[in-house]
C-alpha cells in the first residue's frame, strides 16, 4: 500500500510528524533533562505545532519541495535552541535537493535524506559518534542509498532510512557526547540516548509509515 510521494504526502508526513512529536514530548524532555536542559520535547512540539498551523492555513503547495521549504522556515523561526537551526537547515536542504519535481522517486528520496544529513553536519560540525542527531541521520542516509541502489521503491527507501535512524538513536546510548549541550557533562553523558537522535528517528518513522514503506 505505498503512496505516491507528492505534495499531499509531504503535508501528511508533516502532520504525522507533529503528532508523533507531541505524543513523545515528555519522552524527549526527559531524555534532554538527563543530559541537556530539558527542552527538546518542548522545542520540537512548539515548532511542529506552528508548522501544522501554517500548513493548514494555506493551500497545499505545488511540489514536495515547496512543502518542505515552508516547514524549514517555520521550524527555523519557532524551535530555537540547537534543534531549530539544525532541523531548519535539514528541511531546507532536503527541499533544495528535490528541485521542482512533483513526485519523489527512490533516488530522490535517498538524495533528500542525504542532503538533510549533510546540512546538519555543515551547520553543527558534528561527526558520527559525537552523540547527536547526526548519529541517526548518517545511518539513515546510508541505508536509504543502499536501498535505492538495490532497487527499492521510494517508500521502502524511507522505511530503511527510518529503521537505520532508529538503530542509530539507540546506539547513541553508551556514547560520550562531544557536541551540543550534553558535551558539558563529559563522561556523565554516557548511558542516555541523545534526544535529537530520537526525534530524528520518530520523524523518519512517520515519513515511512505515511508513505506505506516496509523494510526489506
Amino acid at each position: 500500500m505505498t503512496k505516491p510521494l507528492d505534495p499531499r504526502w509531504a503535508v501528511l508526513w508533516i502532520h504525522e510528524a507533529a503528532r508523533v512529536v507531541a505524543e513523545n514530548r515528555t519522552l524527549l524532555i526527559e531524555l534532554d533533562r538527563a543530559i541537556g536542559d530539558a527542552d527538546h520535547g518542548e522545542n520540537m512540539d512548539r515548532g511542529f505545532s506552528a508548522v501544522v498551523a501554517k500548513l493548514d492555513a494555506g493551500e497545499v503547495p505545488g511540489t514536495p519541495a515547496a512543502v518542505l521549504k515552508q516547514v524549514a522556515m517555520t521550524l527555523m523561526s519557532t524551535v530555537g535552541g540547537a534543534a531549530g537551526p539544525l532541523y531548519g537547515t535539514a528541511f531546507l536542504r532536503a527541499a533544495t535537493s528535490l528541485g521542482d519535481a512533483e513526485e519523489i522517486d527512490a533516488a530522490a528520496a535517498a538524495a533528500m535524506i542525504r542532503a538533510a544529513r549533510d546540512g546538519i553536519v555543515a551547520r553543527g560540525k558534528a561527526e558520527v559518534g559525537d552523540k547527536t542527531m547526526v548519529d541517526a541521520w548518517t545511518p539513515a542516509a546510508d541505508a536509504a542509498r543502499t536501498a535505492a541502489e538495490g532497487g527499492a521503491g521510494a517508500s521502502d527507501v524511507l522505511a530503511e532510512a527510518a529503521a537505520a535512524a532508529h538503530a542509530g538513536a539507540i546506539a547513541t546510548e553508551p556514547l560520550i557526547a562531544r557536541k551540543g549541550r550534553a558535551s558539558y557533562l563529559g563522561e556523565r553523558s554516557a548511558g542516555h540516548r541523545d534526544p535529537g537522535a530520537v526525534s530524528t528517528a520518530l520523524i523518519l518513522q512517520v515519513a515511512a509509515e505515511t508513505a506505506g514503506g516496509q523494510t526489506a
Binding site: D37, G80, G84, P85, K179, R181, Y184, R188
Partner: protein, 333 residues
C-alpha cells in the same frame, strides 16, 4: 511544581510585558517577534550591542538594556536560544549606522541562531560582528567538543563593551575590547538544588540532601560531578582554584570579581562566599578592584552560586566605572 506563573507557555511573554511596564522609561518591548530595545534606539553613530539567549537567566539580558550596556536583548523560550526572526529585527532596530556587535554565549543553539541572523542582517545592510563568550572553566575547551560555555562573564562583557560603545569606539574597537574581556574572564558554578523548567514541571536534576553539583551551567544541566556537601569556605575554594589556574592569576593582578546567585540563594550566603574569595585572593596578592555580589545571571530558582573573575587592566576598570543605567545595573546616572 509551584510557581508564580499563569500558563507555562506564556511565562516569557508575560514576564517581559511586566518588565516593559516597570521600566518603560528605559526600554521598549517589541512583542511580535519578541525583543527589547533601549528607549532611545537606534543611537545615531553609536555601535549597537545585541545579546540574547534562552530566558530564565534574569536579569540577563533584558535587565542590562540601557545606556552604557546593551541596545537590545533577545529572549528565547526558557533555556532555549531565540530564533533568527527575533534577532534580525533586534539587530536592524539598534543599528545607528556604526554597525552592531552580537554578544553570544557559547552554546550550539545560540551560536547557530545568531550566525543565521547575522548573515541575514548583513544582507539587509547592517555590518555585524560577533564575540563569543566562553568563560566556564568547568567545561573542557577542545577543538573536538562544543568548547566552554558562556556564563557569568557575559555580564562583564556586556558592561565593558557597552561602555566602550557609549564613549564612541567604532565597531572594531568595541569588538576588540569585548574580546579582551572574553580572553581574561573565567567562571565556575555550583548548585545546591536544581531548578524546575516551567514546561518540564520536574526538577532539572536529582540531588540528595547530602550532595551538591560542582561545575554547573545556567540551564539546570547537571554539573561536571556530584560531591558531598561541604561548607561555604570549602565550596568557594573549589570554585576559585580552577579559575586561578586557568587565568594564571598571580600576585599584583587586578580583578573584577562577581559572586553571582543562581536565583534561589539568599544574598547573605553570597556575601559569605565573597568573604572567602576576598581572603583567598588576598593570600595570592591579587586585588579585587571592583565587585558585584547578587543575582545577575540566574537559572530560574536554582540554589547555588557562581564565581566570575576578570583580570582587569586600566582601560577595563575605566570602562567599568563609566555611567550605566539599566534595570539591573546602575551607577553614575
Amino acid at each position: 511544581m509551584k510557581k508564580l506563573i499563569n500558563d507555562p507557555k506564556a511565562v516569557v511573554n508575560e514576564s517581559v510585558e511586566g518588565f516593559g511596564i516597570a521600566h518603560a522609561d528605559l526600554v521598549t518591548v517589541h512583542p511580535e517577534p519578541l525583543f527589547i530595545t533601549r528607549k532611545d534606539a537606534p543611537v545615531q553613530g553609536k555601535v549597537g550591542l545585541v545579546s540574547g539567549g534562552g530566558s530564565g537567566h534574569e536579569p540577563l539580558h533584558a535587565g542590562f538594556v540601557g545606556r552604557g550596556m546593551l541596545d537590545a536583548a533577545v529572549p528565547g523560550a526558557v533555556f532555549t536560544s531565540p530564533t533568527p526572526d527575533q534577532i534580525i529585527p533586534a539587530t536592524t532596530a539598534v543599528d545607528g549606522g556604526a554597525g552592531v556587535l552580537h554578544i553570544v554565549k557559547n552554546y550550539t543553539g545560540d551560536v547557530l541562531n545568531f550566525e543565521t541572523a547575522a548573515e541575514m542582517a548583513e544582507a539587509e545592510g547592517v555590518t555585524v560582528r560577533s564575540v563569543l563568550v566562553n568563560d566556564d572553566v568547568a567545561v573542557e575547551d577542545s577543538l573536538y567538543t562544543a568548547g566552554r560555555r558562556g556564563v557569568g562573564g557575559t555580564v562583564l562583557v556586556e558592561r565593558i563593551a557597552g561602555a566602550a560603545a557609549e564613549r564612541g569606539d567604532d565597531l572594531d574597537g568595541v569588538t576588540a575590547v569585548a574580546q579582551r574581556v572574553v580572553d581574561n574572564v573565567r567562571s565556575m558554578g555550583v548548585a545546591l538544588a536544581a531548578c524546575t523548567v516551567p514546561h518540564a514541571g520536574v526538577p532539572s536534576f536529582d540531588l540528595s540532601d547530602e550532595e551538591i553539583e560542582i561545575g554547573i551551567g545556567i540551564h539546570g544541566e547537571p554539573g561536571r560531578h556530584k560531591i558531598a556537601m561541604e561548607n561555604a569556605d570549602g565550596i568557594t575554594q573549589r570554585l576559585l582554584d580552577p579559575i586561578v589556574a586557568d587565568l594564571s592569576l598571580a600576585s599584583g593582578d587586578r580583578t573584577i570579581v562577581m559572586v553571582n546567585g543562581m536565583g534561589g540563594t539568599p544574598a547573605s550566603e553570597l556575601y559569605i562566599v565573597f568573604r572567602k574569595v576576598a581572603q583567598l585572593l588576598e593570600g595570592l596578592g591579587v586585588t579585587i578592584d571592583r565587585s558585584l555580589v547578587g543575582n545577575y545571571i540566574t537559572a530560574l530558582e536554582m540554589q547555588g552560586a557562581s564565581l566570575t573573575i576578570l583580570r582587569a587592566d586600566d582601560e577595563m576598570l575605566g570602562l567599568w566605572d563609566a555611567p550605566v543605567h539599566t534595570a539591573a545595573l546602575r551607577w553614575g546616572a
